[in-house]
């Protein structure tokens, strides 16, 4: 089956390349990622994923990632 999977990817190269180009053309610098995320969200939903969108500004790595004795 792995050969079929790899062959499938080869057959769909044009779509895979177009998909990345589409993502690039969706503005997402300076912390804006909304349009590109909408694309990702739609794709995941179509594949049958349970999805969640979230944002937690109160937590930054500076606050949490400081546990010298914990690990």
């Amino acid at each position: 089956m792995i050969k079929q999977i790899l062959n499938d990817i080869d057959q769909n190269q044009a779509e895979i390349i177009a998909g990345l180009r589409k993502l690039i053309e969706m503005e997402s610098s300076d912390g804006k990622a909304t349009k590109a995320q909408e694309f990702v969200l739609k794709e995941l939903k179509e594949m049958g994923f349970m999805t969640e969108c979230f944002r937690e500004d109160e937590r930054s790595s500076s606050q949490v990632d400081y546990s010298p004795n914990r690990f």
Binding site: L6, R21, I24, V40, T51
Partner: protein, 372 residues
């Protein structure tokens, strides 16, 4: 530690996301006969004008076997690889034996707003892959399995005004004092690099400690005596060193230097927390999950020799530290503007397609994965 000199200030706010930006996580429940798996990469890019070279950053072009555009490699290429690999796999294996989590996250601020937030919400996998290009340019020959600890520090020193603004007979110029401190920092760096070396892996014998003075700041103009000068320092380190231990040790060293040399009064030195800190983490190269990834890369690309690479504060640390996950970073050949003389960001089309194949192969083979 001298509490007067070491002030941990409130978290810095040097980066803010657009109010509407958000993370996306998707999960598929499997049969549960194989350990869970998580894939993640970041959707946001560098700022449009970060490198000042993009005439139209949101235009993608194809040239010389490359897809060129802002985010091509960092890290929309990673997001696209995840989507197309998973999509292909699910066509052939609609009912997975493992729980699969796929995340497109916000990557800035050391993963604090993205990967870390997701982990704190409970998203993880017993094994995980961070799809991100190798910043070193190694492409799929690089297995990112070590995340060095990081601590950023702002070290400042107070000067003393003279009777007149340029009176050096009574005044003390902080710009001169900071130059002494930078000399001490360089000595400390050398001492720590001699003492701390990797005792395993691709970088065995090389220093596992890096202290970099990124900025020296004093604003006295040409003739003024600076009453305060600052340098910004990033320290990267590996176990058994810890963030707290490194800061304590450095503080002690600077105090000793100041007292011994007599040029700077340590009471005038202030060490404050900078913008980033990260705890070191690592997954062993002998880990069965690492072995599986390497095997699939070899199958697709023919690469046999791997570089087990360290990075400073990589997102791979977060699933390891907070999600109990074996996490590895892999990615295609690409160029980031900072490694490409400020020129365009690109991703190799062949390697991008190979990346989808590698990931799909891993996802497929993982259906029979045995962690032992």
């Amino acid at each position: 530690m001298n509490e007067v000199h070491l002030k941990w200030i409130i978290p810095p706010t040097d980066f803010e996301y657009h109010p509407e930006a958000y993370n996306v996580a998707g999960t598929i429940k499997g049969k549960g006969t194989v350990p869970s798996l998580m894939l993640f990469s970041h959707i946001d890019t560098e700022a449009e004008n970060y490198f000042g070279k993009f005439e139209n950053p949101y235009q993608s072009t194809i040239h010389d076997g490359k897809i060129i555009g802002l985010g091509a490699s960092d890290d929309k290429g990673g997001v696209a690889m995840m989507l197309y690999a998973v999509k292909t796999l699910l066509k052939y294996v609609p009912q997975l034996p493992y729980d699969l989590c796929v995340m497109s996250i916000l990557g800035k601020h050391g993963g604090g707003f993205g990967t870390l937030s997701a982990l704190m919400k409970g998203y993880t996998g017993e094994n995980s892959i961070y799809l991100h290009p190798a910043e070193t340019g190694h492409g799929f020959a690089e297995i990112k399995n070590i995340s060095l600890g990081v601590v950023d520090l702002d070290i400042s020193v107070k000067g003393k005004p003279g009777k007149l603004h340029d009176d050096l007979s009574e005044g003390v110029n902080a710009a001169v004092l900071i130059s002494y401190l930078v000399t001490y920092l360089e000595k400390y760096n050398q001492q720590m690099r001699d003492k701390n070396r990797f005792d395993f892996g691709s970088f065995k014998g090389e220093p596992s400690f890096i202290l970099n003075v990124g900025t020296i700041e004093a604003k006295g103009g040409y003739g003024g005596i600076n009453q305060r000068a600052k340098c910004c320092v990033r320290i990267r380190f590996y176990k058994p060193l810890t963030i707290e231990g490194v800061v304590e040790d450095l503080s002690k060293y600077l105090k000793e230097c100041c007292e011994k040399e007599g040029k700077v009064n340590f009471a005038d030195v202030i060490i404050e927390r900078g913008s980033f800190r990260a705890t070191p983490a690592q997954v062993e190269t002998e880990d069965p999950f690492v072995q599986l990834i390497e095997k699939k890369i070899t199958d697709v690309t023919g690469i046999h020799q791997f570089i087990h690479q360290y990075h400073g504060g990589s997102d791979i640390r977060l699933p390891m530290l907070y999600g109990k996950s074996h996490c590895v970073g892999i990615g295609p050949a690409c160029a980031l503007p900072q490694q490409n003389s400020g020129q365009m960001e690109w991703i190799s089309i062949d390697d991008y397609i190979n990346g989808v194949k590698i990931l799909a192969s891993i996802l497929f083979e993982y259906c029979n994965f045995d962690q032992k």
